[in-house]
Point group: C2
Chain length 353, copies 2
DNA sequence: CATAGCGATGTGAACGGTCACATTGCAAGA
DNA sequence: TCTTGCAATGTGACCGTTCACATCGCTATG
């Protein structure tokens, strides 16, 4: 190394290669503008010194951080992780790095995350945490960067939306179970604490209740009291309570496959036959649901594709950064409904009549 | 806002508050050095302008990015996600942000990730991807920052290690199953492709074979041909193949709970009674294993704690940055063995004699 | 043969903070 | 009253890169 202790800089490389600093930069940014011989000399110096450009300095000069922020409730959820991976991959060709923050479903934490994030000057932000404090929207709006909300279609969007209606999912779930001939129908969903909330789960639950009521069926067995995040164990626990209270249950919708699989296992422990005695429907199409016995009927959304789509949108929004006018017309807010699919597997069946 | 289009800067705030830029900075860095009245005036200007400090600029000046890099195989694995969350949380008090990259188990991709990462000048790097190209070690060594490898105890460490011996896990798994009286014992593990490898899974498998051989038992049923990453479906598929070939099998070790649960479901589909006809042992203590019927015996490692521990180590290493000598003595490489625990649940049982 | 034109390279000034080192004002002690 | 000392604030340079623009040398063209 040239200077002890410090990492080599552009200057070190330029001195060694016998060119100016600008030429070295060009070798990285626009190699075609540099004569092949010069380029080779520079590249050798780079290799010898082990020089890696400092993007923080670059960001400062270009006013472009190369970051896209992603805020989600938790990483410990296959679908959110898949979303993150899809986003990363679709953003890679454009050279953006993902900066991930997770809120643990807490709105207060989300606020903190967004503030932290903004200090890194992301060029766009993707929000997958559905419950926002008002201040979050204010901060994001002020920063002037594109905001994309995913995995939902909120009533009061902060920016673009790529997702699906969780309320519609709930409605469809109810219609599906009703269509099978069930009438004593229950649902398992998240509790509403003051700060920790799973708004999407709540929306699915609300849609479910709504459709039940519309069909003239009782909604008393729709339970919004699951601990967040809904897990296998929580699903089993909730199912146990439900079975204790209403042994003559015919069908259950769990707002998450995780809870549904837990519920399925609880049924197995109690010797309840699925779908013979009870139909069970989940949401999320987690891989485990394909393998359980019986396999789990569910409602599927392609989260990886959701992430990819968000990434493509962002790449497109950010590309003509130079072309268009500064930002007088913040491109009209897009809303993309990617829909969802009911996947009927073995855990649901019609009522024998 | 003050200047149209641009985000407000320190200068905008200082002008509005009628102080110098340095005073504004101090309100953020060392508030106690600023007179309360002045501080209040500055804070009001900050609030009015919606000013958020630019950390890229700050990094440049302080030569500290505030980033810690984390490279892992995939996020779509509860244990790695838990590790990431544990790391994040233990680093938060010290003000570090996590920069996550994932390799999809590819060594080539890992190399790319590390290079990208280094351009953001992380102050430390945590590696959870066990298979490294040589160049990765070179790059990291040259950068001079602390490196922590987690979830393994490699023979040729790149820096510090916090983990457990995957080979020992395999040995212990075999001893456990042998101890139950089984002799026809199989194992399911990852295949070894050229680039995509799961070295930790391979190590568990190798340890398992080793212990089997040492006990004079045949190792022909130890299968290292699972698609990476090992999933529920892959576990089911592998188990099916195994049962077709060796119907008189007595015990199976799957190097991941995910594969083990898949295998468990496959057994159920085939009407094979666990643990009556077959003992099944997994690894990883994923939550689902507690809920399956029968519940899954497994080998547990606390990944969240692993992440926390790595975070604490890094925080400690980085703290006295100012105190100690520049870096003549790169603090001796630490190796922490966090061990593992066999959790015997219902899927394993002794042979009836 | 002069010169316009272009491609390759160099120059100095930002970018937005923070560092080390002044400078100022004021209270305590000789 | 005159230091001395400290707390609060200001000054200019610098962190490593890239921007806009200038310069250089060469070739093609009239």
């Amino acid at each position: 190394m040239s200077r002890p202790g410090r990492e080599p800089t552009l200057r070190d490389v330029s001195l060694r290669a016998g060119v100016s600093r600008m030429t070295v930069t060009r070798v990285f940014i626009r190699p075609d503008q540099v004569l092949p011989e010069t380029r080779a000399r520079v590249q050798q110096a780079v290799a010898e010194l082990g020089y890696v450009p400092d993007r923080a300095a670059g960001s400062l000069a270009t006013r472009r951080s190369g970051f896209v922020g992603l805020v989600l409730p938790t990483l410990v959820n296959g679908n959110f992780a898949a979303l993150a991976e899809g986003l990363t991959e679709s953003l890679r060709p454009s050279g953006y790095d993902l900066l991930i923050g997770y809120t643990g479903y807490s709105m207060q934490e989300e606020e903190r995350q967004v503030r932290t994030l903004l200090s890194r000057r992301p060029e766009a932000v993707v929000l997958a945490a559905s419950a926002h404090r008002e201040s979050v929207g204010r901060q994001l709006a002020r920063s002037g960067i594109p905001v994309v909300e995913v995995a939902d279609l909120p009533e009061q969007p902060l920016g673009h939306m790529i997702g699906f209606s969780n309320h519609a999912v709930g409605v469809r779930a109810a219609e599906f179970l009703i269509g099978l001939g069930h009438t004593r129908i229950a649902a398992l969903g998240p509790a509403r604490c003051a700060d920790r909330r799973d708004l999407r789960g709540e929306a699915r639950l609300a849609g479910f209740s709504h459709a039940l009521a519309r069909a003239g069926l009782p909604t008393g067995l729709v339970r919004g009291d699951g601990a967040i995040p809904l897990s296998f164990g929580e699903g089993a626990r909730l199912m146990g309570r439900l079975l204790d209270e209403a042994p003559d249950l015919q069908a259950v919708f769990a707002v998450s496959d995780l809870a549904a699989v837990g519920a399925l296992m609880e049924c197995r422990r109690r010797g309840i036959d699925l779908p013979g005695q009870l139909s069970l429907l989940g949401f999320g199409n987690f891989e485990i649901g394909q393998q359980t016995v019986p396999s789990l009927s569910t409602i599927a959304v392609d989260f990886d594709a959701l992430g990819r789509r968000a990434g493509r949108l962002i790449a497109a929004l950010l590309r003509p950064r130079d072309a268009g006018p500064p930002s007088p017309s913040p491109s009209p807010s897009m809303a993309v409904d990617v829909g969802f699919t009911v996947i009927a597997r073995q855990s649901t069946a019609g009522v024998a009549s």
